[in-house]
């Protein structure tokens, strides 16, 4: 245990935790926007898988991370379109239609992977700041700073984007007209409708936001790991949905939840690699975030209140 509690190992573990938190954070921020408008999307994991494969395959073929992320974003947009039509216009039951999206994403990403790639072929990982082409040199000295270097400066651009999105989404939800509409249709769609807010359009856009972020989350995951395989996300998308409840629909608390997941995973892997805990204990440790989430849900259920119209399709009377 003593070899874990050294400054350099602790710093490195924290830095990894921040990196691990990114896909969770992106996906759950998107889900937050959707849920605030009253739409639950359980299909996040499927959209992440499709975004992950799209980004991975694009980078494999073109070597361009930017293009890869763009493809992830577009896939999120397309899946958002599908989910929005199904939930907003066809009033599908949200708990179940999300499972449909998940199964489709799980199967289709695997189908494309087997057909187009076949075997595990690594790509270049997303570059950290100091490795960015052109401007990397500026950041090189910063990375070498004690503690602060690895924690703050040794990340890829998607990490900064994800954490920057926390205040952005907060601002979007609380300070903009769109955000007000989102919250209104999530709380009381009838009232919002009678005031002239289009419930369908607002939810449609909120879902699109959510799914784009899910696609980006998958793309980021694949490009951080620099690889794709069957079921790459392994349930990250489902956890992202739970994190929204965990964070009581507030972006900053959702971020805290994402960091908690990142921290537990990073610590577990570090302990395992340092031989502090055997594999068995590591399996047990892998349960802890899920158990913490359940406990948090128990504690929060009586305190935090979600959007009143969550999962309820809107019909004008």
């Amino acid at each position: 245990m003593s070899q874990f509690f050294t400054l350099s190992v602790l710093t490195a573990t924290l830095a990894t935790a921040i990196k691990f938190a990114v896909p969770y954070l992106l996906a759950s921020l998107g889900e937050t926007i959707g849920q605030r408008s009253g739409v639950l999307n359980l299909g996040v994991d499927g959209i992440m898988l499709l975004g992950a494969f799209g980004a991975y395959y694009t980078v494999l073929e073109t070597d361009s991370h930017l293009l890869g992320l763009a493809v992830g974003l577009i896939i999120g947009l397309l899946m958002g379109l599908l989910y929005a039509v199904v939930t907003v216009f066809l009033h599908a039951q949200q708990g179940i239609s999300g499972i449909g999206i998940f199964l489709f994403g799980l199967g289709f990403s695997d189908l494309l992977f087997q057909e187009l790639v076949g075997s595990v072929k690594p790509v270049k990982p997303l570059p950290t700041l100091d490795k960015l082409p052109g401007v990397g040199g500026i950041f090189e000295p910063l990375v070498d700073i004690d503690i602060l270097g690895p924690l703050v400066f040794d990340h890829d651009l998607m990490t900064y984007t994800a954490f920057l999105l926390v205040p952005v989404v907060t601002w979007l939800l609380n300070k903009t007209t769109f955000g007000m509409n989102v919250r209104a249709v999530g709380e009381n769609p009838q009232a919002a409708d009678s005031l002239g807010v289009s419930v369908a359009r607002t939810r449609f856009i909120a879902i699109m936001f959510g799914c784009v972020l899910a696609g980006l989350a998958g793309a980021t995951l694949a490009l951080q790991l620099a690889v794709f395989q069957h079921n790459l996300t392994n349930g990250i998308g489902f956890i992202a949905v739970a994190l929204v409840y965990f964070g009581a629909w507030q972006p900053r608390w959702v971020m805290a939840g994402a960091l908690l997941y990142g921290l537990v995973t990073a610590t577990r892997l570090r302990w395992q690699s340092l031989d502090i805990i055997p594999q068995g204990a590591s399996d047990i440790a892998a349960m802890t975030p899920a158990i913490i989430t359940i406990l948090a849900l128990v504690l929060l259920a009586s305190r935090a209140r979600g959007p009143a119209a969550l999962t309820k399709p809107f019909t004008r009377h």
Partner: protein, 384 residues
Amino acid sequence: MKRLVGASVPLLAALVAFLFGAIMILALGENPLSGLAAMFDGAFGTGDRIAATAVRAVPLLLVGAGITIAFRANVINIGGEGQIIAGALLSTVVALTIPDTPKIILLPLVILGGLIGGAIWGAIPGVLKAYASVNEILSTIMLNIVAVQLMNYLLRGPMIDPIEVDGSRIPQTERLTDNAALPTLIEGTRLHLGVPIAILAAIIVYIILWRTPLGFRLRAVGHNPDAARAAGISVERNIVKALAMSGALSGLAGVTLVFGSESLRMVTDGGSAGFTGSAGFNGIVAALFGALHPLWTIPSSFLFGALLTGATELQRELQIPNALAISLNGLIVLFVVSSDKVREWLARRLDSSTGQPINEPPSADSPPDQVATTSSGNDPETVA
């Protein structure tokens, strides 16, 4: 005519999904018709393949029948994967603990172990929902994760095959006693006792739901919790019962996966699908396609069993990855849950042409509308 429209919409949904599948096969450079032929041949081509299809349908049917109970009580059970694992683990523990017990005693005990394991894993989200207002969609998903890690821990540690301890450490149990194996029904095929058990289970679910006071209470709670409460029915207790029963059937599915397998042991590849074959999710598909009715879930499960075995042949013969089946399942779910609105629209079109009233009262057997509405766990009255 309207009834005909109602019945044909899910079939239409499946047709659209298959059309999509045909387009995908075409895009992969194969003839969709030879693809269909290969799938049909793979699912029904020989007696052995029909048996394989039936065996493949067993976990789908058991999970699906359980799903119908939960849905009728207006709870969404997405925890099939975890409940399958919990049932499989407990039944495997039984078989490992008392391997020398005669078959006539051991097999029922193993099945009971599976039922109890699944029931516990289902009852936990039930209790959390009923008494702590925790959304069951989230708690079942979290418990899936816990179950997978529990399986990984047990199969890598305490329950590992003694031979593997110093060997390659494959996370699997030893070959379990033949005294616990589900007996083969037709020699030379894989058809085992799990098939009639699953069909019987679906029929029992039907009887419970529509022919017993328990089923009446469950459906009353699902239909209108406030009215049920006013009538003296405990909403909380029935939510727990619904999820426990749903879980028990998934647990039984876990038993058939272990004790109906040729290797007769429990193996993990680290994820849940490696053991369950995603039956916890595919069972939802089968139940939905069976209109959330336990009896219709029987043919529906066999259809999806055929889709899965057919896809295996598709991969073998035309090199089309069998992941195609999973993606088609996803589309079928999407189309089926979207079809209510389409059906309404079709019915209205028919009504306007025949002049009949639009609002037909829902029949007793129709799936509850908007199951999700009261399931968010954040009902206004529970807010402190």
